[in-house]
Amino acid sequence: MKIYAYGVIDSNEKIDETMRGLNDAPLFNISYRDIGIVVSDLNAQIQKEDKKFVLKHEEVVEKLMDKFTVLPMRYLTLFSGKEQVLLMTKDYYDDFIENLDRLREKIEFGVKTIWPGDLIRERITTAHRKSDNLPLVASSSGKSFMNEKFENYKIDKEFEEEADRCIAIVDGFFSKFTSEKRLEKLKTDNLLLSASYLVDKEKKDDFKKAFEELRGSGGDLKYLLSGPWPPYNFIVLTKPNAKKFGSLDMVDSVFQRKDRT
């Protein structure tokens, strides 16, 4: 018998008893001071890839989002008992409070962009081969190796610079309406951008309008908007794992914060 956790909410009160979780188990709120962890009992073994359970997890989190500020747990966060849940919450309490305050009344939108990456890479490669400007006289094996590597390096670099240019344009449509963002570039050669934007609930329609403008802007890029989501991409935890190793930049994350007075 395990405890399955769905998310952290900014309420320590009992939650609606009609809400159900995985395997139709009832949900309950384990309260700690002024917050709570929403959980359900779990008997069965769950496979990571089981679609049904992931969808249920998401459904629960979104229902919570309607009534509370919720920090969604990663799927398949299990505890061996209520004690462990409380211990974890005690450890992370400051982090949870910080996140709940920062994310109150905010939602996440996802914007993905596809570009003809294969073709662009081909074009750059052909241009480089044509101009034949190898830096070294390839007279020996070490130098030939370096030449080949260098050519690939230059092609990669130009490809990424082109990507950065396009990403800046796409991002420009949304910056006005967002307080934080996470941009992942080139997860595949063709998936130019996978972005998450944190948006005030009241700016929801402005954001959607901006997406429509982007979509209508022409060119052969393809766009996808998803949301509103609970703020999966904007949870920031400073302890205990990260703290052990000193200050570590989240390598791919870019975020801006409005100055808070």
Binding site: G7, R74, S226, P230, Y232, N233, I235, N241, K244, V251
Partner: protein
């Protein structure tokens, strides 16, 4: 007799619905499987189902980044013959 055009449109919107479902599921997986409140981020190497070793790989990542930042610092290591 069914209007053939009506049937084609139905089929198209059915397929569109399936594609939408596929993307929706992928979007959910993209978030729920890897993001959110993640309580443990270390690698656990389980030996015979017992979680034994937590690898502090983040420490390695940090050192390597420092190495990158130190341009011109001993590169001679790479030019030596590997054993």
């Amino acid at each position: 007799m069914d209007n053939p055009i009506k049937t084609l449109q139905d089929k198209k919107s059915y397929l569109d619905l399936r594609k939408q479902e596929r993307v929706t599921l992928l979007e959910i997986l993209d978030r729920a499987l890897e993001k959110g409140v993640v309580i443990s981020g270390d690698i656990v190497i389980s030996v015979a189902d017992v979680g034994l070793v937590y690898l502090g790989l983040k420490v390695l990542l940090s050192s390597v980044e420092t190495m990158e930042r130190l341009r011109g610092a001993p590169f001679s290591g790479a030019a030596e013959e590997p054993t």
